[in-house]
Amino acid sequence: MKDWLSKFRALVLFGIVALVLSACGRENLTALDPKGYGAEVSLKLILLTTIVMTSVFLVVIILLIIVLVRFRRKKGEPLKNVPQVEGSKTLEAIWTIIPIILVGIMAVPTVVATFQLADTSDKDEHININVTGYQYWWHFEYENEEIATSQDMYIPVNKKVYVNLISNDVLHSFWVPSISGKLDVNPENVNTMFIQAYEEGVYFGKCAELCGPSHSLMDFKVVVVSEEEYEQWVNDMKSFNSQELELDAVAAEGRDLFEEKGCVACHATDSQNFVPGQKPIGPDLTQFADRSRIAGILHPTEENLYKWLKDPESVKPGNKMTGAYPELSDEEIEKISAYLMQLSPSEVTAASKE
């Protein structure tokens, strides 16, 4: 029994160590490998508090072991009476004062960092993106740029970017672990924070506040590109016009079907009719073909798009598109897909960064 136990414990220990070493999670998702300002500040505090608290834990565990080794009643040892100690002023003072000092060591940097991250005085000098959370997707409107997009948010590298968050329905929370800590997306007021990414790439964003059945599928991406690429992307987005696209016959039919079937009621496909501040009903599909994922989670393949258009419910339970459009035949889906796959305003895409 004893033997088995200690083997088991060794195994457990080994497992944990292996887990820690096996990496700190997926790159571009984990908070342990920061690629942005907010995440970096948070990680510093995570490390500081971990170190302080681990040393406290060690003290406790060492004391516990000493006590058990020294004062444990051995098998068969008769009960005896031991001196009844009331307490000790000195000892008690020690373990009151030392923790107070330790708390101070953790509290001061925390407070400093809080105010650093909350300083939004230079908001007007930087890019502002108005983010709206919807059950179960994200919308990004670029202030002063007359463009909007959904699911993938493009930002330039090493530049401060302000995100102004509001929800269209219930509470969500905006979290891109590698770049920054999270901020709630409230329905009644705009929450503002800035993010700054250090490296180009595609970063995983998550919704962190329970918002319904598909809460776990409400992913988005932050696409960090170079400054020039960003400029180019914005200009491409502005000038893109889906009605003037040169399309083959199938895709052209798809474009007509997109109107016939009422998709346009919810989805925009270019920036021509952009109205600042207007809340769309469904994701903006202007750059659908450039998306890193369909509906935030599926890899951008024909089959997956078919799957989504055929039965969105099977992909995202409770989503707001299900049942909002007439059922599509396979042929119609093919045509619409052909059209959607042409919606690629820019060379700058998520795929180019992944």
């Binding site: 944990i16 984990t30 948070s42 004062f71 105010f115």
Partner: protein, 620 residues
């Protein structure tokens, strides 16, 4: 008792006895049974959650059902399992520890139990009638307003009924401790479990009203079209979050403080040493409770309250580590220099120290709000609170059950099985919840029905699920132990060489507790008498008739009335006929309330002769 009424009673008499009882010890049995049932239910829900998360993109259960599972798991575990079991322990032990014959309001005590029971029943019936609540145990207003069906309505009605019961319990225990301590039992001689019961009751008294109001607001918004949380009409759902956590944070101390009391008793008893730093322990308890009211916004660091609020609440939160640390070190020093017997109860207590300390560590780490921007609503938080709740409250419950089982049921639990319960459970806890911290930091938010493939979250989740099943094994062995021990030998009055008053009466305690009120000469009165007296607690009064309250079926019936009117509340939005249930149930309960207050109930007396006979029997 064995000498009086013949042991043979019919099954129905037995049931009737429990339905009408106002005896705190029998009510404790009811609480333990009810809470135990809900613990198994909540545990099964936990296992379902873990099975769903065993591998990426699993489809063991649907998304909607998953949300119902986490909501019901959290709600059940906290309101219907942990709290009732804790209240049950308090009921069983606290009056004995202060040398009282019952609690201040025995009738209310029974009512409290039945309200809890029917509230919990109502909540769980939602599974049968069209869907359970699915907005998380916090049931934040924006989502719970949006949620269709009646799940949330069940949440509101169930918790409102159960919560009323808890509030009455709080008042009852405070009054008991204030007015009914035996002669000589000054405040600073009360055992620590009684102290923590007292402080916990105060927490209940002040923490539950905000929850009550919050549920009312949500109920009005959902059922009667008011606009507290309706943004279009100027409402504000952050109010809900504030009110919930003004309740919610003290609530977690309601779960842990009584267990601090339990551990204090156990460490002292099994080290054969007086609790180290008793006075400091008492004041640390009060300080934790006091600070506990001032840190609620640490659950809301990411809501956007602004840097000033966040900074204040961060520092306040970390400060709680200080009184808690005092406790940890005092326990260690209690064992230092003592003679430490390690049996099942003590194993749980020893396991608690590292486990809870890890939970407290991560708590303090969460308290650093800038770090919390990353932790919040991720599995790191899930890891934290299971470490403190399971490592603190659940370990405490197991410890207390092993320690007081003889006093409550007259049988000692089997030692071997006791140890066999501990090890799988202890290992399981660390397997399940330690990796969750890492998962959180690796980017896994909580309340996720599925995690996607290719995000390096697979291994951690698998380990976590395996651990959960180990806990299940431990829990099952405990159930076996209960059954086996029921046929074991009868327990002595004082099987552990105890220190406090509850060990001065027979096991289980006679229904009148003390034939004569005891005279208390100091802290650890029984120990004092063993060391300085004849080993018996001196009596504070001559033997005489003992006044007892009458049993009553009214608490049970009243709770049924509220239960029915709960259904009325839930369904009146569908069909006006349900108003019949709503008002009918309410009228029924009010009528019973009036009957209760109009009918005089003076209780009855146990004649002196009967007590004399019982005492002789005991002496033999």
């Amino acid at each position: 008792m064995a000498t009086t009424a013949a042991a043979k009673r019919s099954f129905w008499e037995f049931i009737w006895d429990y339905l009408t009882t106002v005896d705190h010890k029998k009510i404790a049995h009811l609480y333990l049974a009810g809470g135990g049932f809900f613990f198994i239910l909540g545990g099964i829900e936990a296992l379902i959650i873990r099975i769903q998360l065993i591998k990426p993109e699993n489809d063991f259960i649907s998304a909607g059902f998953y949300n119902e599972m986490i909501t019901m798991h959290g709600t059940t575990m906290i309101f219907l399992a942990a709290m009732p079991i804790i209240v049950g322990l308090m009921n069983a032990i606290m009056p004995l520890q202060i040398g009282a014959r019952d609690v201040a309001f025995p009738f209310l005590n029974a009512l409290s139990f039945w309200l809890f029971f029917f509230g919990g029943l109502l909540l769980n019936l939602s599974f049968l009638f069209g869907g359970a609540p699915d907005a998380g145990w916090t049931s934040y207003a924006s989502l719970s307003m949006d949620s269709s069906g009646h799940g949330i309505d069940y949440y509101i009605a169930g918790l409102q009924i159960a919560g009323a019961g808890t509030l009455m319990t709080g008042i009852n225990f405070i009054a008991t401790i204030v007015t009914m301590r035996a002669p000589g039992m000054t405040y600073m001689r009360m055992p620590l479990f009684t102290w923590t019961t007292f402080v916990t009751s105060v927490l209940i008294l002040f923490a539950f009203p905000p929850l009550t109001i919050n549920l009312f607001l949500l109920m009005f918004d959902r059922m009667f079209g008011t606009a507290f949380f309706n943004v279009a009409l100027g409402g504000n759902q952050v109010i809900y979050q504030h009110l919930f956590w003004i309740f919610g944070h003290p609530e977690v101390y309601i779960l842990i403080l009584p267990m601090f009391g339990v551990f204090s008793e156990i460490f002292a008893t099994f080290s054969r040493k007086r609790l180290f730093g008793y006075t400091a322990m008492v004041f640390a308890t009060m300080l934790i409770a006091f600070l506990g009211f001032m840190v609620w916004a640490h659950h809301m660091f990411t809501v956007g309250l602004g840097p000033v609020a966040n900074a204040i609440f961060a520092v306040g939160t970390m400060a709680i580590a200080v009184p808690t640390g005092i406790k940890i070190f005092n326990w260690l020093l209690t064992m230092w220099g003592g003679q430490v017997t390690i049996n099942s109860a003590m194993l749980w207590a020893l396991g608690f120290i590292p486990t809870f300390t890890i939970g407290g560590m991560t708590g303090v780490m969460l308290g650093s709000n800038v770090a919390d921007y990353q932790y919040h609503d991720s599995y790191f938080v899930v890891g934290h609170f299971h470490y403190v709740i399971v490592g603190g409250s659940v370990f405490g419950i197991f410890a207390a059950l092993h320690y007081w089982w003889p006093k409550m049921f007259g049988r000692v639990l089997n030692e071997t099985l006791g140890k066999l319960t501990f090890w799988p459970f202890f290992i399981g806890v660390h397997l399940t919840f330690f990796v969750q911290h890492l998962l959180g930091l690796m980017g896994m938010p909580r309340r996720y029905w599925v995690f996607l493939e290719d995000q390096s979250l697979d291994l951690g989740n698998l380990i976590s699920t395996i651990g959960a099943f180990l806990m299940g094994v431990g829990a099952i062995i405990f159930v076996i132990n209960i059954i086996v021990s029921a046929f074991g030998e009868k327990a002595a009055a004082d099987p552990w060489d105890g220190r406090t008053l509850e060990w001065a009466v027979s096991s289980p305690a006679p229904y009148y507790n003390f034939a004569q009120l005891p005279l208390v000469r100091g802290l650890d009165p029984l120990w004092i008498e063993k060391m300085e007296g004849n080993g018996k607690i001196p009596a504070a009064e001559p033997l005489g008739d003992v006044h007892m309250p009458n049993g009553s079926i009214i608490p049970f019936l009243m709770s049924i009335g509220f239960f029915i009117s709960g259904f009325g509340f839930i369904y009146q939005t569908d069909n006006v006929y349900w108003y019949l249930a709503l008002y009918g149930g309410l009228a029924f309960s009010i009528a019973l309330m009036i009957i209760r207050s109009v009918k005089d109930d003076y209780g009855y007396y146990i004649p002196k002769e009967e007590l004399e006979k019982a005492l002789e029997g005991e002496a033999k």
